[in-house]
């Protein structure tokens, strides 16, 4: 009896402590989630109340809105080309930093620093770096006799430009890799050395397999952030002083979240944008789940 009473009161105190989260969950997660699902089946311009249209919004997106497919293509481009490159470069940096080297703290800080500066400031900086005539990259290319491309003003080079810029910000993934690398037991390497393994063998047979859980983590985090890619392209892809919507040139940088934002807050098509938001949500769930499912085949967990 006493025990039961105690359990009961613990439940009450437990709930009391987490009550801020419960309220927040109901108000800022569950309600908006359901409301946005409802809006996605309506036509809703804020001024008039939402009007039910069934799946018409979704049908329009899939069959009648070329911009939707362009934005999907652009986003997939970043996922397929940008993400693996970011993961490889951040792994390279982490492996280098994990060696027994001098000035370790200095290099770690240097590689991490770009991730803490405000996105708006780094967007400004890279706008200038990519300037076709006097930007850093094309100036340096000109020194060796190469005429650099127009980068952000050339539809063929605008996405590669964002991939390059993203490489500057891989410090976050790098520190996660570093934590993973430090968790690999030293004895594994020692045993391999006794067996005469060279560094290539140690890297491919020990480091990579032991790091697969971290790789999976970075892969999922990276995929989610690429799907929500917004601030940098929003700032960097509009003509100066004009009312050109973001995504230029020729919609080559119209990423999914940009189009969603435009539909919601530039054209006030709230129902349509909600449908896009739910498609994004489902995409994130499907990709995360697929990565988790695939992980059984390539992720190594100790003690299994």
């Amino acid at each position: 009896m006493l025990r039961l009473r105690k359990k009961h009161s613990d439940l009450a105190t437990g709930l009391a402590f987490i009550s801020p989260w419960i309220i927040g969950f109901l108000a800022f997660v569950l309600y908006p989630l359901l409301a946005s699902f409802y809006y996605s089946f309506t036509r809703f311009n804020i001024i008039q109340s939402p009007r039910w249209i069934g799946i018409e919004g979704y049908a329009e997106l899939f069959f009648d809105d070329p911009l939707f497919w362009i934005s999907i293509q652009n986003t997939l481009y970043m996922l397929v080309f940008g993400l693996p490159l970011s993961l490889v470069v951040s792994l390279l940096l982490a492996v280098l930093l994990n060696q027994n080297i001098r000035f370790k703290a200095f290099f770690r800080t240097l590689f991490y620093l770009p991730t803490i500066i405000p996105a708006v400031a780094s967007a400004m900086l890279w706008l200038w770096i990519f300037n076709p005539q006097y930007g850093l990259i094309n100036s340096v290319l000109a020194l060796v006799g190469i005429r650099g491309p127009g980068w952000l003003v050339d539809p063929r080079w605008s996405k590669p430009a964002f991939i390059i810029m993203d490489l500057w910000g891989v410090g976050g993934a790098m520190v996660i890799y570093l934590a993973g690398l430090q968790g690999i037991p030293e004895q594994l390497y020692e045993a391999a050395e006794i067996d005469g393994a060279n560094w290539m063998q140690k890297f491919w047979r020990i480091t990579i397999p032991m790091l697969t859980p971290t790789i999976l983590f970075n892969l999922i985090l990276g995929a989610i952030s690429k799907l929500q890619y917004f601030t940098a392209p929003y700032i960097m892809t509009r003509g100066v002083g004009t009312n050109v919507p973001p995504g230029s040139p020729l919609n080559s940088t119209l990423f999914y979240s940009l189009l969603l934002f435009q539909n919601a807050f530039a054209y006030f098509k709230m129902g349509y944008a909600s449908a896009m938001a739910w498609i994004l949500f489902v995409l994130i769930l499907v990709i995360t789940l697929a990565l988790f499912r695939s992980s059984a085949r390539w992720v190594y967990y100790e003690g299994q």
């Binding site: 105190t13 437990g14 969950f25 946005s36 620093l113 000109a142 996660i176 700032i235 949500f281």
Partner: protein, 285 residues
């Protein structure tokens, strides 16, 4: 004899490795540093040195006045004040709420706790884009668009990432501490306030730091909710400035440096906390 040849080849291999490692580090380090150098260098140039080939790295003359001028282009101090008005209460709200909620998940046994905690983690996967539209409409109906309220209020209900981080830390504190206090008649709230919080300073400062940076750097939420430019944050103000004076690179870079500086200073002052925090979050994915 054979042994010394073997040693020599080992030594050569070691030397080669060292050269490769440091060579790569220095090359990559230079690539990462160059944009920073370019940023500061541009911010101190007179216009005639901006548009030249080959580029000038060390401005001559060094035009410190760019900074004063840049601060005049945008109402810098007003935007600074606005940014602080959002960042400070939000961070306090985040600290109080997340530390309370984390306590409920780490230090109290109650049925269903771990299932609910998984739900907390699951909400981290929810993209902001899904909730932003209904929330915008709710705040609009409340008449809060154009005010700081929609930006500050949600911080008082805990952030899943911070709850996770603090819970992990609380779990490392011995349970005997709480048991002893309970025997002395201390309530859970008392234990939280008098024992757990004082012991959790490293984790709390990590949360404070992450939170300050997140609010300082945030762009999307202020973009949605702030209308009047007298309410702009520094991030929005800089973007607005670029829209108007897009070609004034020296000014733009100077303003970017000014906006970045507080964050960089904070980072260097608290680097130890930062590294600890990353160690906390990096644990067991």
């Amino acid at each position: 004899m054979a042994n010394s040849v073997y040693n020599q080849s080992l030594k050569r291999q070691w030397l080669f490795q060292q050269v490769a490692i440091y060579g790569l580090l220095v090359a990559l380090g230079a690539l990462f540093a160059l944009p920073f150098v370019w940023l500061v260098s541009t911010s101190l140039k007179i216009d005639s040195q901006l548009f030249v080939m080959p580029p000038i790295w060390i401005p001559d003359p060094i035009k410190w006045n760019n900074y004063r001028k840049a601060l005049g282009y945008i109402p810098f101090w007003l935007y600074f004040k606005n940014t602080l008005t959002i960042t400070v209460p939000s961070t306090i709200g985040m600290l109080v709420s997340s530390s309370l909620v984390a306590y409920g998940f780490a230090r109290i046994q109650w049925p269903g706790r771990d299932v609910v905690f998984i739900l907390v983690l699951a909400t981290m996967m929810l993209p902001y884009q899904v909730t932003m539209i209904p929330l915008f409409i709710v705040f609009r109906n409340l008449g809060w668009i154009g005010t700081f309220k929609p930006l500050i209020l949600p911080s008082f209900f805990g952030g899943p990432f911070y709850i996770f981080l603090l819970r992990q830390f609380y779990l490392t504190l011995p349970m005997e501490l709480s048991d002893a206090a309970k025997i002395d008649g201390c309530s859970e709230l008392g234990i939280y306030r008098r024992i757990i919080l004082p012991l959790s300073k490293p984790a709390l400062s990590t949360v404070a730091l992450f939170s300050i940076m997140a609010y300082w750097n945030d762009f999307l939420a202020p973009l949605i909710y702030l209308e009047d430019d007298s309410k702009y944050t520094l991030a929005l103000g800089l973007q607005q400035f670029q829209r108007q004076f897009g070609m004034e690179w020296a000014m733009l870079m100077a303003t970017s440096v000014v906006i970045t500086l507080p964050i960089i200073v904070l980072f260097f002052l608290t680097q130890k906390t930062f590294v600890q925090g990353i160690a906390l979050t990096g644990m067991k994915g």
